[in-house]
Assembly symmetry: D2
Homo-oligomer: 366 residues x 4
């Protein structure tokens, strides 16, 4: 992936810092005549938006997105039709508190990019995390909303499957539950446990990690490519590029390492239209880097944010020993808001591969 | 990543099928005046080469690499000096047994790319796995041998840390041991257990997965880039592109999800040359996508190969139900040979980011 | 080049239509700590801005550019310092006259992209030319203003050398004259002839083509690359991407085809610092795709705009025969405003190659 | 374009030096099930091959190409069917005379890349021009042979239209003549004049430039893209990347600069299938960067080679003044062999845009 861009035919470039005037993205390569509404983009953004519960940062941004190019108005209010030219999306930054950043400017927060940005560039926009702020992920979500429209029949959903070491019970998985609790939890009972657990984390100013699972249904068989353009390789790169992500799995992932070949094989029986029916999906819908037509399943691990109330040892930009403690608003579990971001990344990667496959092979995928 | 290429400034393109006349790669962007010997490339290839123990496939290939372009002869026998133009490497395929492939041509092996290649392309080189064969990874290893020379001081090593559910004991980790057993195992005692265990797996014609860990020492601080060009995102994509890999972790990886922010923070104290000393390395040497100067640590999970002696249910190209059993040579644990491949991918990604960083920022990294 | 992006390490992506809310660009890869002022960007934009004389379109836009990301404030008012993250630039569209476009929407102007956009995409923003409007070139100029800062000592200047078949007299070439007339003409006497000539063209509602010459001084020797990444190949692609450009030359260009090898050779004598002094510059500062250290010289031909008052035969979107005549504001010679655009493209290409060379070779160029 | 690669979806990477063991290329992205024969590639190579007349260099190479990957055998002898994986092509270098290169190694030939390669890389394969030798263009021609198969109905032809200042008479243009003379001249009478003229040039050890014209018929309307991915921009970059090319034109090219808008407009009348009939083709088949469906017409100027028998002033690698005279085989007019090379580049660019258009827009072009 390039510095601030990803994708080949469906290519997303983002820009903007946490406390600059705005953030934005350009989506190049959207097919013409794709219809979408501002409300659809906004709905995805609202799912990611912080400040919606006591479990995410209290920053309050309307996150109102504008579509600045690449569209013609559709027939109904708020509908757009893509023209095939670049779609520019933009969100004003409205909640940049005019606080004094001189403290954070010179003191490196452990576990944050403060120190590495300074080492690399010798200069850094330290206000609110600058470019490394999770605020950038809003543009991924906006781009993902359009990506979802590019592949007919594609449905990408995400759920939180673990907070700390509390995992959901897969037997109780119900997608509908993910919108009934502030955690995108598909298991109503676990959501209750998490609420209690996270209240404790939040009250002691601590933080905790999480695991997110993304499932893409309706992915046509045949997307992806040998050898480096594998669908799973691009998904892995895309998910690992999300802030605080430290691990990515496809299908059974690390658990597959402990399986035997007999148990891991996804057997096949003759199915409809000459396509095989798979009897299991250990592979997560991808074989040899190419989609099988089954659901594409990916998981990623989000580390606990280092923005905590307990002082940690650090250094400042002058090389002095300092103690750093994060004040102000923060997320006790940044993994929660990563759910719609992960969905968006998977949607964008699939849209890109959908176009790439159509370019090379040129057949209609079903 | 592109279909058969990866990297931006250090860009590797591979080609070739398992049973074609040869396999090869082109490395574009190597700096001029990089010195390397044929023996150094060959030594890396020999580590990956199958047929070296009863635990890997018995295919016997000399894997003798030729350097066809991009170099001038050095002062000593077998030494090359890069000229800055593309380096083409090539290995003849010498052990393509002239067997009858009509069986495998039409019957899809479960867990293999047979079916997805056919669905995607409508045509496939089925001989020995064709393009999806692990044979392609020889060229990754060859390219990695040159990548190692691009970054002064870079040392990339790998080890197998789990076979099936038998994990090494990290307290016994000794890099020297990795060349004392056929498993790249850094723990001599576990290597003995693995030998016994894998003998059983092999005798019953089964297979098992594994976990590989790669550690890169000597990575200068400052490599990587926001937001999509993160060093860890490119490592994740690169490792996930290796055959049979289903999961990738950086640093603590999935385990980080269960940590608190206090435990996960890598605290800092003033170090030499104005750079911080880190008191731990949960992050795996990467913060915000940029290297810290600590060792870069990545792990990946390799699934058990589906090439097993137990018949599995499948379909053929005509949509008929068939049973498929793999005959002939195969690896009971393909994860073993993935160790040098993983090293090579990490070396290539770091070399690419080394050049990219130098391009944008233009300072000498230490 | 990608659809709406160009460059590898200094990468520019533009977006926006003539009559949308705004146009903009993202510049990814600018080195950190590059200093520039808003006034410097604005000054370049003002040179390109229409409506400054009776020889260019009377559209009146302030073309006030905003810097939305990628910078920290400098010490002086209006100064920015790049941080190494993407720089987003944006200009509001303020002079979109709310006229009725239903006529132009369906009738294809000969020589314009109306018909090809419709054939390709099946939909088109027809208002003011949409994406194919020359308005997009404002963002090239803005990006070029920053590119000029990336390469120390680089000076890129342009001049109009022909309007119609009236060529300047090179013996009278004076760069200072280019800012004394509305044509960027380096020859004061020819400027007077052009004024008279263009008045006639304008009065009869006609248009005429032009030839632009760009000279880049201070280009370090060693930029460019074999074989497809040649500096001249990228300049040619970049200049040909400017609206209405139909030809590109480097150095002697097409005239070189009529020379003998003796006359075309740029002989060398020993120069300072071990570098050769060249006795001529037929090659335009580039040999084998790599800069020699001499001035880089490029020329491009701009066709006459088809927006003229004389009716021309055409068809409409329903396939009917129609006559089309352009009403309203237009440029009698679009080549004039192409001068700063050509400068910007050359500056961007050189900046990109400067970073690419530094990445691969890693030495300081002088 | 990247250093040694071009194209996005139909991507060609070449490698090899004039006097190394071989040259080769990898073509990534060819659609599956494209049929071609070795004879078809060889026929194109034979057109480019030197030593076929006294007007081109007397180097004698069989230039026998091998197909090493990416194909399955077709039904007939020598037929291949692409599988969608990378196609590797390779030609052994068989006529590397074992001469003493110590002279040329240190003395820079004026007008050649000797000096710039040395300045850039500090090392250079000087044997026979190394990477900058025209020998590399054989791989372009080979790749072009496959590109021609990718776009149904595409016919790309080239002709030499000027040698020195002797231009053909377009009224006598006959494509069939281009294979009746050693110059690819479409005008039999001019071919006779050229023969006499070139004999003189050759005898006095001089050289002369030329102009090549490429015409692509059967290009579907709708290929290309705004703004930087214009079809003509990519053709310009591709042609300018050919050795010794100094100028590129599309359609009327530089002559368009002298036309009025009235004369330059390609008027339209209703045609078949709802598509316009164009009454002229000043634009060379491309409007706004997108193909109109008319023939795509490009021209390029090739400078005279500096390899001449007359001594020219130069310097050596130590900075001493020397006189350089080219001994041995050379082309009096390198523009002749550039004809099939130019065809190949245009074919590759069109194939790439054909796939890119199909990726984004997804309709069958006619």
């Amino acid at each position: 992936m390039s510095h601030n861009s990803f994708g080949h035919l469906f290519r997303v470039t983002t820009w903007g810092e946490s406390h600059g005037p705005a953030i934005g993205c350009t989506i190049d390569g959207t097919p013409p005549n794709v219809r979408f509404t501002l409300a659809e983009i906004q709905a995805e953004l609202d799912r990611r938006r912080p400040g919606q519960s006591r479990y995410t940062t209290q920053r309050q941004e309307a996150d109102a997105v504008r579509v600045l190019s690449g569209v013609m108005p559709g027939e109904t209010e708020g509908e757009y039709i893509s023209t095939g030219t670049p779609i520019a999306l933009q969100i004003e930054n409205t909640d940049q508190r005019s606080k004094d950043y001189s403290d954070i400017a010179r003191r490196y927060r452990p576990g944050h990019a403060d120190v590495t940005y300074d080492v690399k560039y010798g200069i850094r926009d330290y206000r609110g995390g600058g470019r490394s702020s999770a605020r950038e992920t809003a543009m991924r979500v906006a781009a993902g909303a359009i990506a979802r429209k590019v592949v007919p029949g594609l449905v990408v959903r995400g759920a939180l499957v673990a907070i700390g070491d509390i995992w959901i019970d897969r037997a109780r998985w119900d997608w509908a539950e993910t919108s009934n609790n502030p955690f995108f939890c598909p298991d109503a009972e676990t959501a209750i446990r998490w609420a209690e657990y996270l209240d404790g984390v939040r009250k002691r100013g601590s933080s905790v990690g999480a695991v997110v699972e993304i499932v893409a249904d309706g992915v046509p068989a045949g997307l992806g490519a040998p050898i480096y353009g594998k669908l799973d390789a691009d998904i892995a790169g895309g998910l690992m590029s999300i802030n605080a992500v430290k691990g990515v799995e496809i299908g059974d992932g690390f658990a597959a390492a402990a399986l035997s070949g007999e148990d891991n094989a996804d057997e096949m029986r003759p199915g409809e239209k000459g396509r095989p029916d798979y009897l299991s999906n250990h592979a997560g819908g991808i074989l040899g880097g190419i989609s099988t037509g089954q659901p594409v399943v990916a998981r990623f691990a989000v580390k606990p944010t280092s923005s905590i109330l307990t002082p940690r040892q650090s250094v400042d930009a002058d090389g002095n020993a300092v103690d750093v403690m994060t004040k102000g608003r923060h997320d006790p579990c940044v993994g929660i808001r990563a759910v719609p971001v992960g969905e968006a990344m998977v949607a964008c990667v699939i849209a890109d591969h959908y176009l790439r496959d159509r370019g090379q092979v040129g057949v209609a995928r079903v």
